[in-house]
């Protein structure tokens, strides 16, 4: 590391190189830390987590009982031991709380004044963070599995919603009021939509994953149909006929674009994870091995951002498996939860991972640092004597 620092200082190396190398090293050292805790508020499983993209300071969590909690992740105390406190929460006695389990929460991508939450009670609610009131509610005919708002969109305010019906619905926040829902309804999937995700590179590209084993890429401006349906065999008919034109051999549970938007990761109930080229829909055939997945609803996994070889963090039973994205190598399994892990998010400023599971805990995985060397000047003891007992003799050896 000193070599990298001096190379950066002398101008031999790009500063970004040092940053990426250090980020990678920190991610490789992720582990549970006794000094970091997240306050336990949820009384039932944590389904979803989201960290706001502006500062990386506030985290939202949604639970199976409909409770939404807002945490402050920043350590403003001077102590190494720190518990991330809940700033506020939408608890069960809030008048606008969701009736059933909250499946997805997401911060408004441009500031923390607003966030959205969708739930099994067939609604998507838009909340004002400061007053903790719902600003808007969108009602649907079916339970909502997932929703996502584009992180890079400047020309539109669309929220893509995946429900139990086969159609993806887009809600417009700009024109939305309680009764007016702008629905641009896409046909194409045949069963419930388990995950939706906007591309972080192009503001009109949307990926949807469904229980009918298909993943489709859409351009929302094009009304006629999807752009690409991902095919795991890349068009070769030599594989099994049953799996023609499908992304997985089972339900597709989770979707995640890499941070540059060039690749797309999908996980399915056939215990596989696949990496796709998002521009032409080609399966890159990277083999991650068995990625155990028995979740009947969406699985929320995440990728790292800012490391030299990006990593993907996938919930694997009650652990979190860490893989290198482009080589498919499994680095480690992060063990710590007692029950199955449902969601995880990565904080890219400090290379920390937060994961929520069915055991109602949110765990923080922090890069393990070396123990600080104890400072010698601070070990001098001050005299503890009461001044009344201090003797007034001078300590000098001179006579007189």
């Amino acid at each position: 590391m000193l070599g990298l620092l001096s190379a950066r200082q002398a101008g031999l190396d790009d500063p970004l190189r040092f940053r990426r190398a250090e980020s990678t090293r920190r991610v490789l050292g992720l582990e549970l830390n006794k000094d970091r805790d997240v306050e336990r508020i949820h009384g039932s499983g944590v389904n979803t987590l989201d960290i706001e993209p502006v500062e990386g300071r506030y985290m939202l969590s949604g639970g199976s009982d409909g409770v939404i909690v807002l945490y402050d992740l920043e350590n403003s105390s001077r102590q190494p031991y720190y518990t991330c406190k809940a700033v506020c929460s939408v608890s069960r006695n809030h008048p606008d709380v969701h009736k059933y389990s909250v499946e997805t929460v997401q911060w408004y991508p441009h500031d923390t004044g607003m966030f959205t939450s969708s739930s099994f009670d067939k609604t998507l609610k838009v909340w004002d963070t400061n007053t903790l009131q719902t600003a808007d509610v969108f009602n649907f005919e079916e339970t909502v599995y997932s929703h996502h708002m584009s992180p890079v969109a400047t020309k539109h305010c669309l929220v893509a919603v995946g429900t139990r019906g086969p159609k993806v619905q887009l809600c417009d926040l700009k024109s939305g009021s309680c009764s007016h829902i702008l629905q641009v309804v896409f046909a194409g999937h045949r069963q419930e939509i388990l995950a939706v995700s906007w591309s972080p590179r192009y503001e009109y590209i949307l990926a949807t994953a469904s229980a009918d084993s298909r993943v489709k890429l859409w351009d929302v401006r094009k009304a006629s149909g999807c752009l690409i349906t991902l095919d795991q065999h890349n068009g070769k008919k030599s594989q099994a006929a049953e799996s023609a034109n499908t992304a997985h051999n089972g339900k597709v549970n989770g979707l995640c674009f890499t941070s540059d938007g060039l690749h797309l990761l999908t996980v399915g109930t056939d215990d596989r994870m696949r990496l796709w080229n998002s521009s032409n829909g080609e399966n890159t055939l990277v083999n991650y091995g068995k990625v155990y997945n028995d979740s009947r609803k969406g699985l929320k996994f995440t990728v790292s951002c800012g490391c030299s070889s990006e990593f993907v963090f996938v919930p694997y039973g009650s652990t979190i498996a860490v893989y290198t994205i482009h080589s498919g190598e499994q680095l480690t399994m992060l063990k710590g939860h007692y029950k199955s892990v449902d969601c995880c998010v990565f904080q890219s400023n400090f290379q920390e991972l937060y994961s929520g599971s069915r055991d109602c805990n949110i765990l923080a995985w922090v890069p393990s640092l070396c123990e600080p060397v104890p400072d010698e000047e601070e070990t001098t003891n001050k005299s503890q004597l009461n001044p009344a007992f201090e003797d007034a003799w001078s300590s000098s050896d001179e006579e007189g």
């Binding site: 590391m1 070599g3 990298l4 190189r17 190398a21 990678t24 090293r25 490789l28 050292g29 582990e31 070769k236 008919k237 030599s238 594989q239 099994a240 006929a241 049953e242 799996s243 051999n249 055939l285 990277v286 083999n287 991650y288 091995g289 068995k290 155990y292 028995d294 030299s308 070889s309 694997y316 039973g317 080589s327 498919g328 190598e329 680095l331 480690t332 399994m333 992060l334 063990k335």
Partner: protein, 286 residues
């Protein structure tokens, strides 16, 4: 959590990679680090030829290759590309052997060679969408010719082996491919199915198959369940590899314990934990 992650720190930190190989065990699981071809060659040694009276070519499974070649993506690429091109034999160019080649360059070239050379064929085994068998083309050719010797479909089979096998490296064939590109008529295709070289997949498409492989698949499935059962019945559902191999094989295991162990490890049906007493096989909790 595994501390072994730190060996993967990239070269910018100047840390040397700790060598993966420990003391050689009597069952060298990671003996071949890199070459899929060497892995397949080693695995076909484990195949019991005598059990099938030498009528079946030695079949290795893709999951077994994964247990010997730790990087799956690399193994896949090697196998896939090894099917197509014409065979380039290293022995024909002895001078090239004298040149020092880095192991990675060698394996990359080998891998693409394997399937692209036409040196191996990949066969769909039928009991699982992911289970693929790997056979050396030469072995396959000789066995099939021997099996159809003197039968009525011999001519069709020979035509198939001569024209279709070298040209098309896929697992299956379509109707229009067979009739137009290769000029097979419907009666000839029926003869091929009767010979066991093709298996019907659905209307108008066929899998490439090995004649007489049904017995192998039956023994394989039963043997896999039996070996898994041995691990399951052990205390704490885990067994040391050396102990498992030292046990007497139950009657259901006809293909050999080592053969099945490679397959279980590669298919991730057991977790491989390295301990101070050797490798431990443990059933996954999930």
């Amino acid at each position: 959590m595994s501390r072994k992650r730190h060996r993967l720190v990239p070269e910018t930190f100047g840390l040397k990679r700790r060598r993966e190989r420990g003391p050689v065990e009597e069952h060298p699981l990671r003996g071949e680090s890199g070459s899929a071809r060497a892995a397949v060659a080693e695995l076909v040694q484990l195949f019991p030829r005598g059990l099938f009276e030498d009528a079946l070519p030695p079949i290795a499974l893709r999951s077994q290759v994964y247990s010997l070649v730790p990087d799956r993506t690399v193994a896949d690429r090697q196998l896939v590309r090894g099917v197509r091109a014409t065979k380039t034999d290293g022995r024909r160019f002895p001078a090239s052997r004298a040149l020092p080649r880095s192991p990675i360059a060698q394996t990359l070239s080998r891998q693409k060679e394997l399937q692209e050379q036409g040196e191996i064929r990949i066969i769909q085994l039928g009991f699982d969408l992911d289970a693929h068998g790997i056979i050396f083309t030469e072995d396959y050719r000789t066995r099939v010719l021997k099996a159809c010797d003197g039968r009525s479909y011999a001519a069709a089979v020979q035509k198939f082996l001569a024209s279709v096998l070298p040209a098309c490296g896929d697992l299956s064939f379509q109707q229009d491919q067979m009739t137009q590109t290769f000029g097979f008529r419907d009666p000839e295709i029926t003869q091929l199915v009767n010979a066991g070289v093709l298996t019907v997949r659905d209307a108008g498409s066929w899998w490439l198959a090995v004649p007489g492989a049904g017995r192998f698949i039956k023994y394989f499935v039963k043997g896999r369940q039996a070996v898994l059962g041995m691990v399951r019945k052990a205390k704490y559902r885990e067994l040391l590899l050396s102990e498992l191999l030292g046990r007497r094989a139950p009657a259901a295991v006809r293909l050999g314990l080592a053969y099945h162990v490679h397959d279980l490890i590669g298919a991730q049906l057991v977790d491989c934990v390295s301990t101070t007493s050797g490798t431990l096989l443990r059933l996954p909790e999930t």
